[in-house]
Symmetry: C2
Subunit: 339 residues, 2 copies
Amino acid sequence: MITIYDIAKKANVSAMTVSRVINNNGKISELTRQRVKQVMEELNYVPNSNARSLVLQKTHIISLLITDITNPFYTTLARGAEDTAKRLGYKLLFGNSDENYAKEKDYVDMILSTRVDGVLFAPAGDGSAVHLQQLQKHRIPLVLLDREVPGIQADTVLGDSKEGARRLVEHLLALGHRRIALINGSEDVSTARQRHTGYKEALKLNDIAYDEALVLHANYRDIQDEAALDRLLHLPDPPTAVFAANNFLAIGAIQGLRAQGLRVPDDMSVVCFDDLGLASALHPFLTVAAQPAYQFGSLGMQWLIDRIEGRAQEEPRTIILPSELIVRSSAAARPREGK
Amino acid sequence: MITIYDIAKKANVSAMTVSRVINNNGKISELTRQRVKQVMEELNYVPNSNARSLVLQKTHIISLLITDITNPFYTTLARGAEDTAKRLGYKLLFGNSDENYAKEKDYVDMILSTRVDGVLFAPAGDGSAVHLQQLQKHRIPLVLLDREVPGIQADTVLGDSKEGARRLVEHLLALGHRRIALINGSEDVSTARQRHTGYKEALKLNDIAYDEALVLHANYRDIQDEAALDRLLHLPDPPTAVFAANNFLAIGAIQGLRAQGLRVPDDMSVVCFDDLGLASALHPFLTVAAQPAYQFGSLGMQWLIDRIEGRAQEEPRTIILPSELIVRSSAAARPREGK
DNA sequence: TAAGGTAATGTTATCGATAACTCCAAAATA
DNA sequence: TATTTTGGAGTTATCGATAACATTACCTTA
């Protein structure tokens, strides 16, 4: 590999002069600048950012950790983060925790040893607190995405889970539904708790009793317990609508319903949080609360870099990005009872 | 930041001894090992992989460059690459070229200066040759994914574009279609050329004349020229089926057809390369040639690391991964002519 | 014309780790 | 007992860059 010393020797200058040409600082005569530049071209020189990082104590690398790379919400978020990082001169070190604390821990160790300049972190859940504390102990600039973690103070970019949930449920109520099931992510995750709260609030505001039997506790990747879904559907007083706490759960629910021979929305209405990407383009079917995923990533990255470069005030900021209710055809009016 | 020197001082040993404990090599008495380890814990020491990389000339970072992070094919591929990299002890530096040579060039520069150990590269097209040559000039281990580039010799993981295209078209022919449109990606991309060839071969084998008017030249992200699609649909002898060269083009085509009031598959059959991820789970509709995207990533990563670690033979390997024809309902028998 | 200024460049130390070599004392061997 | 071996350390140079200071040579200006 070519180093500044190779360049220096061939151009008959000192390494420092080469460094000055590269960084375009210090006084240099036009003649030597040209000579050095020419030698750099000839030898195909590329600076070693490793060596530079070591002395500058800055890597220009930002780590992005998301929980599910196959979820369109997170890939769109990643795209926003990546675009903004690139625009501001940072590289992206990428990680995917699969909603799994052990994998998340491995990434945190890697992040620490890589000496990244900052971390964009979508936590797997409340259990991420230890990992986040570790990052903070090392004073690594941090922005949380999508989920808060109790006990962790940091810049945070959130969606309006409670409000969004409330609106989705009220949409179902307006269609006449009274028995509405909730298929939720793990209560270990802040968004799941807030969507649960929004669900309850909507019921309360409309004088409908909350029934724990209508709530299925799953996780954001899949329903897992198919039997529980079946039981829910065969309750004495079964639901006529389902609110799924995210896109994957909605897909899981629809597949489960299909397996039972139930049609959506004829036999069961379904709504959910997060849009589906391509699926919605192909078949604008599912009524959703769509979150501005790209903005989660781009704003989070912007905030992080502000902090890295000392442009942020001391205390952490939090923003709640609104979601948009997109009414399509997966939720319909409640069928008349055959009484 | 804590360094081995801090540890060394506090443990009353030399830095070298600390290094030996960290790397678990060299002779060390159990006593000092324990003492050093304890001090490392106390001070929350994390090795600086930057410094280590500089002396070892190895970063344990692999760069993954894909062309579209919003395409489920590439995200699934990325997941495969990421899982395998993690399993084998490498970190992933991530890039998204957006099918754009300028962005791709920026990433290549970044890759070079980061001194990554290897590159997993999904090229934007034939114009990527200059970038790939640059990587090869610097002797960076390289594996091409999904697309070949004329003039570049490297390990390559490909799909069976020609064969897959042939089978999709023959599926349409078997359904009675005789006028089959092709909506193709840029001919600057090897897979688009091969899918075009497969399309022609299928026609030829079935004694159907190739009609250039039925071929729409777009790119893999979108159809761009909507007017061209309209013209194609209003040909004197219009197509009864469309073969879209990838998933995005299929979605674009279906949207275009819908805008014209045409129903799929009643008025027009549609098939394409690459499955749709969530969309197919929600609504198993589009008949596709599904590629093993995860395997593209995991196998490519495996090959790359083999090469990095000197376990690969000299000459480049190429593998062609088969695709699977998944027949769903977007292609139907050709409607009878009203003659 | 001597003292100081300045443009252009060079020297040395440093970032945090590791390789290669050196050193010393205790144990093994002749 | 003298010599060699070896376990358990320490020293020094190095990776490739940059910061801080040092050094020229030439140019001003009182």
